[in-house]
Symmetry: C2
Subunit: 239 residues, 2 copies
Amino acid sequence: METAPAAPPTRRERLRAETTREIKSVALRLMAEGGPDAISLRAIAREMGMTAGAIYGYFDTRDTLVTALIQDVYGDLVDTVEAARDRCAPDDTAGRITAWGTALRAWSLAHPEGFRLVYGDAVHGYQPPEGGAAADAAERACAGLTGLVAAAWPTAKEFHDGDYTWADFSDHLCEVLRRDHPELPPAAAALGMRVWGRMHGLVALEVYGHTGPLTRDPGRLYEDELKSMVRELGLNPAA
Amino acid sequence: METAPAAPPTRRERLRAETTREIKSVALRLMAEGGPDAISLRAIAREMGMTAGAIYGYFDTRDTLVTALIQDVYGDLVDTVEAARDRCAPDDTAGRITAWGTALRAWSLAHPEGFRLVYGDAVHGYQPPEGGAAADAAERACAGLTGLVAAAWPTAKEFHDGDYTWADFSDHLCEVLRRDHPELPPAAAALGMRVWGRMHGLVALEVYGHTGPLTRDPGRLYEDELKSMVRELGLNPAA
DNA sequence: TGTACATCAGTGAACGCGCGTTCACTGATGTAC
DNA sequence: TGTACATCAGTGAACGCGCGTTCACTGATGTAC
C-alpha cells in the first residue's frame, strides 16, 4: 500500500496537534494533582479556558481521551525502564535486570497516578477498547522482560525447569517468544511473568500506601528483593 | 471501666442490626455485579426498596459506609487466609505459608471487587478515615505474616541477614514484633514485607487482568512462585 | 386491658452539584479566483 | 492586491443524568400509667 508523500503540516495542523497535546498534558496534570477522578472533560476545558464541548473537536468521547492517556503514560513508563536498562552494558545481565526493576519503581513513585492508570482501575466508568487500552506499550514491556529473562536463561534454567508447555500460554505470547528468542523453552515464559509479578508486588503496595505505615525505607526493601531475585536467576547481583 | 450487664437486644435493636447488615451486603453485591462505582447510597436504597435518605439512619455518610465495607471485606479476607493456614499442622511451616498464599489468591479471584476495595482505589472520591480504613484487619494480616516468617526464620536467616535496624521500621511494627516475637531481628521484618509483596504481585496483576492475556494457567505460575519463595526461606515445599 | 405519649424508621420532595454529550451558532483562518 | 467563499475551532446554552445530603413529615412500634 502506497502512502502519499508526507506533506509538511500546515499551520492549522500544527495548532491542532499542539492543542491535542495540551489536552492530554492538562489531563495528566489534573490527575496528578487531584487524583484520577479529576479527569473530566469539563475540568480539563475549564483549566484550558475553553468550553467542554470544544474537546469533542479533538476526541470523540471521554473514553477515547482516557485511552490516549493510558497509551502515552504506559509508553513513557516503558521508555523509562528501557532507557535505564540500556545504560548498563549489554553483557551485564544482572545489572540490566536490576536497572529495569529500579527504574520501574522510581517511575511509579514519581507518577503514582500513571501507575494507577496503567495497572489499576483509576478512572470512574472507563471502558477500555477491545484488545486493551495500550496493547503496544504492553507488548514492548513484555518483550523487554522476555529479553532480560532470555539473557539470564543460561544460568537460570537449572533452577526453573518446570514442565510447562507452549499450550500454557496465549498464542500471541508464544509467537512473540518464538520470533524473538527461538531458543527459549516455555518455562522461560513462566519465569518472565514471575519476574514481572515480583517487581510489581512491592511497587503496587507502596504506590497504594500499604508499605508506608510499616517501613521507613521501602527502597531498601525493594533493592533487597531485586537482589534476591537476581540471585535466584543464578546471577551475581554485583553492584 | 465497668460496662453495664449486656441486656438482650430488643426487637428494634435486632431489626436495626439486620438492616445495617443488609445495607452492607447489598452494597457488596452491587459492587460485585457492577463494579465499584455501583456503590452509591441511591443504588443501594433502590435495591432495598427504600429511600436514599433512609440510609442516613444507619450510616452518617457515604464514606462511613465504605469504611465499614472495607473493614468487613478485609476481615473476611484475613479470616479466610488464617483458616487456610490453620488447616496445616503447626509444625508444617512450608505448608502453612503456601496455604496462606494460595488462599490469598483464591479469595482475591473470588472477590475481585473486594481486593480492589482493600488494595486498590475502588471507590470514586472515598477518603479513608485517619489511621486507615481497616487498621484492625491490616494488623491481623501483618501479625499473621509475621508469624509465618518467625516460624521460617531458623532456616531463613542464613539467607536474609541484611543489616537492618529497628529504626528502619515504624514504631508500631516494632512494638508488635517485639511483643509477639522478641527473638526476631529487624531483618525478619523486612523479610515479612518482602513475602507479602511477593504474594501480592502476581495476584494484583491477575485481578486487574494483566496476566490473563498471557497465560492460560495463572494458578500454576503462582504455585511455582510460592514454591520458589518457600525454597528461598530454606524450607522444603513438600506437597 | 386500654389509653396517652414517646420513640424512631422510613418517606418524598427538594437542594445544588458536576458530569458527558449535542447542537445551532459565530468568527477567525485559510483558499481560489 | 482584493474580494468571495469554504473550512473549521471554539462558543454558550441546553439536555438529562445520578449523585450525596437535608428536612419536615407520617405512621407504625414500643412504653408508662
